[in-house]
Amino acid sequence: MFRVTRRYAFAASHRLHSAQLSEEENRRIYGKCNNPYGHGHNYAIEVSACGPIDDATGLAARIPVLDDLVKREVLTPFDHRDLNLDTGAFCNGVPTTENLAFEIGRRLKRNWSAAFPGEWPKLDKIRIAETERNIFELRADEIE
C-alpha cells in the first residue's frame, strides 16, 4: 500500500471573530488574529491519497487528476482571497485553520469519487500549515 502526498500553496487573508462572542471576548480569545481588518498567511496544504499500485502504470494516484481537483476545489476559490468575505464558507463560522481544514476536507471528499471513480485511491489525510509553526492534520475518516 502506498500513500502519495502532494503539497500545494495558497495565500489568503482572514480574521478570527465569532458573532457568538462579545467584542471583549473576541479580543481576549483570538488576540491579534482578531484585528478588525484581518491579516494573511501563506498556507501550505498536503493532500495524501492512498492505495495499491497499478502495475500497468506504476501509479497509486494520478497526480494530474489530483492537481486538477485541488486546483478547482481549493486553490481557485481560496488563493488571493479573503476567507471571511470571498469564499462563502465562513459566513457563519470562524476561519480558524481547524475549520479551514474541515472545509477543504469536505470539498475534496465530496468531489473525490468524480475525480477517482474506482475503489482506489482513497483520500487518506490532509495537512495544512498556516505558518511553518502552526500545522493542522485531519484523517479522511474525521471529515463528514
Binding site: G51, G58, R62, K122, D124, A140
Partner: protein, 141 residues
Amino acid sequence: MIITRKVEFSASHVCRRPEFTDEENRQLYGPAANPNGHGHNYVVEVGLEGQPDPVTGMVLDLKELKGILNREIVAPYDHRFLNYEAAPFDRVVPTAENLAREIWRRLEPHLCGERGRLYSVRLYETPDLFVDYFGEQPCSA
C-alpha cells in the same frame, strides 16, 4: 521506536509507456512524460522500527545503516538516468511509487533483523511530491 535516516541522490528519469499514445502518457504522468526525460534531487527517508540494545543504547548503528543506504541507494542511482542505467527501470516505469517499492525491496533483506526492522520508505521526488511505502500492508484509511 522508529528511527529515520535520510539520504539524497540526483537522477534523471522519464515516465512513459511505449504502448500508450503521447496523449495517454501525458494524462497519466503529466510533464514527467516528456520523452527526453528530466531530473530530480530525490530525498529518501528510511524508517526503522526497533528497540535500543540495552548495552549500546542504539536500535542500529547509524554508521552501519549509512553504509547500507549508500550501497543500495546512492551508488546505483546517484547521477544516473534511471531508465537507462538502473534496472529494473529499463522495463518498469520509474514513478515515485515504483522507486519507493524498489528501494524497499533492496533494503529489506539487510534490515529485517530483530533490531532495526524496515518500517517505511518515504521518497521525495520534489519537496511538493512524495510517496510513503510501508511494504504490503494496508494504509491507515
